[in-house]
Symmetry: C2
Subunit: 476 residues, 2 copies
């Protein structure tokens, strides 16, 4: 049965036609060889091991932030990149403090909690209040103020497991907005069920919450104060189940929570950039990368040492194979994606006068599981080259899903500037078991899966950097 | 294929013969009906939910110990047991304190650690020392003292996953004895890789270590002092991997660990006992049960709220079905199994003068996964009744593995007294993913698997309590 399908798909792809006028046969052959070599190469795996072992987490603004930057600069140099430099990224840092919660009555039990990123602290003594339970964020929104007043809001909605990770955005509203809505209704704190798909792990998932609102009419942004947001944390999935079971007893449940994470002073981090210089158009760039920062509960292995390692290895292997690209391959390791997208914003600002030289941009920021689909976000007249990419990706088990325009978070500011994008979509079925938890550690990465990623990125990057046309600018 | 095997096994069992003179046909029919009813009954599941939700962990000697005892007494009464009582269990309590560890140099990183049960504390400031790595406990034993002196010993051996849990005993020597051997060689602390099969969970596994030694010649037991044992903890599997990766850099690794768990004063807990009184021989008992205590990191759901719930539900369903047994069914919920086997020892002592009335004993203490095999530990002349049990267990997917004499830990003192035993062997493939960790919570129990356990126990207990012979006493 599967053999039959395979045969059909080969016939289908043969129809796309492989003798093309865009690339030389010799070039395509080289790319194929490198792709196949990469499938068993461990350059990326070793990079991810190095970053997570020698540095550990890289929370933006923490003492590990600069260690990550120094690691990246020296690794780019060690790998033989043609040009290595940094660009400053300034942001207000958020500092994790003590985080504790417990059911005080009627069934005293400790809870595993973590503060949501960008949340304000409780007092040192913590807050103790009865909880009011909502199954979803929408239920909280609809609730009368009187139901929420002086209470700790608990939202128990569980994220759905999906290959494309689409359960995340849906569930995430609770993390993002609940502290704001709770404050508006007179509540004193918010506890959400972790946004994660694990049932197994008693580790809460952190992640950023809303820190500002933008006026629809004026477009002005207002940073929310601690009078407009209540202290907020996420409890582990098993603890959320426990609370739900306690609630079935129909007795008032009182919780004490102490969350001392808080905003700190301004901090200057760096985007770290390594380039393989183009042979004919060095000023034109294919931008790839991952974010160098991570949350601090684990070691940021799948989020996003993996993306940094995959894209660094891609450029390094292309250089080592002697494929001198037509234009420059620029690997950007973005700073503080997690609670600000600050590196991405700073990059777009620093490069606002040479946006037209940004031919296409792509980020790896979804772990290290295999890539299963290619999503382009390019002009219609450059689809021919995308189809060649798709054909070369086919032996890796990757399908072309269309010009669907999927891309990573650090690409958002570039996309706003009209840059073409590419999405190499990874299997996210298990990603949210680990995402933003203490469980995000190096042992979760499978070397052969990471190598498949590099092989796929080699195809995309080699062709994008060699393609003499462009992928459309402001094409919408 | 599987249909073929099924047919064969039916033929095989038919040969054992089912028309027996031990039980009436009517009785067997009732047991079969109850067994089938139990497969979808949730009595046990609800009991485990109640204990873990309303009490949480039950660490021996902690403030939750007495809550567990009170819960059990009132549940036995609520379930309609004929007789409910407690028997005192006195032991020295061990109190968990602060537990922290970190790599200080060359790659500062926090580690997830938990103190081993019965370990002595470090000073409040913790200890900082270079680590010396051994792959196995045997390597530590063989090492020169000079290699260990003033160091923290790190043992990285990983437990093997096995259906019968046999990887545990093998790996566990490292947990049990390393602190003693380290002290003998002049080391200052011990860190072991958690004895667990998970790779996924960044939660360390606690568990007891050796606290005394017995002189082979005199038989005298000596309680080890803090001069004979170093402070000892277990780090999570991902953290052990991290250390192993750091060690590959061939640089000295310095660790700081602060473990403030310590022994406390004497405490009196209780074995809680519920009985269904026998109709003809009330003084003769079939002893079943689980241990009421648990470690404190999770809520002791699989270890051993499950065993308590399964055996309580078994007796309750037998009573409710109107199967009035020939002799008494006694459900014992033992105190402080985890770091002393104190409940089991106290029970054997309290009943030393009526051991001959203990017809057979069995414990459920291996989680809530399905039972796959029956192991008897009985005299040869009572094997006929075991074969009838085996036949009635067959529809539950349970095989008879023979007179192999497997039993739970709380049965050890009874076995020493010559009591016959039964082992209803549960699938332990995933048990050690959760065992002794914060992950041991109610959400891990599958109701239909737990119900299969109760159905199987109903078969064993009904027949054992009705069988007019005995299972051998001091049969060896």
């Amino acid at each position: 049965m599967s053999k039959f399908i395979l045969t059909l798909s080969i016939i289908f792809y043969s129809n796309i036609g492989f003798s093309n006028k865009i690339f030389t046969e010799d070039f395509i052959k080289k790319v194929e060889q490198l792709r196949d070599f990469a499938k068993t190469d461990n350059t990326a795996y070793k990079l991810a091991e190095s970053l997570t072992t020698e540095v550990g987490h890289r929370l933006g603004g923490s003492s590990n932030d600069i260690k990550g930057v120094n690691w990246a600069v020296s690794k780019f140099n060690e790998l033989g990149f043609d040009k290595v430099y940094t660009e400053p990224v300034i942001f207000k840092k958020w500092v994790r403090g003590l985080e504790q919660a417990e059911v005080v009555s009627p069934f005293p039990q400790p809870l595993k909690i973590t503060a949501l990123g960008r949340s304000f602290p409780t007092t040192d003594e913590g807050i103790t209040a009865e909880i009011v339970h909502f199954q979803t964020f929408e239920d909280l929104e609809k609730a009368e103020d009187s139901k929420v007043k002086d209470k700790i809001v608990f939202i128990s909605n569980r994220m759905e497991r999906q290959k494309d990770g689409s359960g995340y955005g849906k569930a995430n509203t609770a993390r993002y907005k609940s502290a704001y809505v709770t404050a508006q209704k007179g509540g004193v704190g918010t506890i959400i069920r972790s946004i994660g798909t694990d049932y197994h792990s008693r580790n809460p998932h952190t992640g950023a919450m809303m820190a500002s609102i933008t006026d629809e009419l004026t477009g002005e942004t207002h940073n929310l104060t601690e009078h407009e947001l209540v202290p907020a944390g996420a409890i582990s999935n098993p603890d959320a189940d426990l609370l739900v079971n306690m609630l079935k007893r129909n007795k008032p449940i009182k919780i004490k929570m102490t969350l001392l994470s808080h905003w700190g002073e301004e901090y200057t981090s760096q985007n770290v950039i390594g380039e393989i210089t183009g042979r004919e158009k060095p000023e034109e760039v294919v931008v790839i990368g991952g974010h160098l920062d991570s949350w601090d509960l684990g070691t940021g292995a799948i989020d996003d040492a993996s993306g940094c390692a995959i894209t660094m290895a891609t450029a390094k292997l292309i250089k080592d194979a002697g494929i001198k690209p037509y234009r420059t391959i620029r690997v950007v390791l973005w700073a503080n994606e997690e609670y600000g997208l600050d590196g991405a914003k700073a990059y777009a600002q620093a490069h606002e006068n040479d946006m037209q030289n940004h031919i296409i941009a792509a980020e790896s920021d979804f772990g290290a599981a295999p890539i299963y689909a290619l999503s382009s976000g390019v002009s219609v007249d450059s689809l021919a080259v995308v189809k060649i990419m798709a054909k070369l990706l086919e032996p890796l088990g990757i399908i072309y899903e269309g010009n669907t325009g999927k891309y990573g978070p650090d690409i958002i500011p570039l996309k706003k500037n009209g840059i073409a994008t590419m999405g190499l979509r990874q299997d996210g079925t298990n990603y949210f078991d680990l995402h933003h938890t203490a469980d995000d550690t190096f042992d979760k990465i499978a070397p052969e899966e990471m190598a498949q990623n590099v092989a796929a990125w080699i195809v995309f990057v080699s062709l994008a950097a060699e393609y003499k046309g462009n992928f459309g600018y402001n094409h919408k």
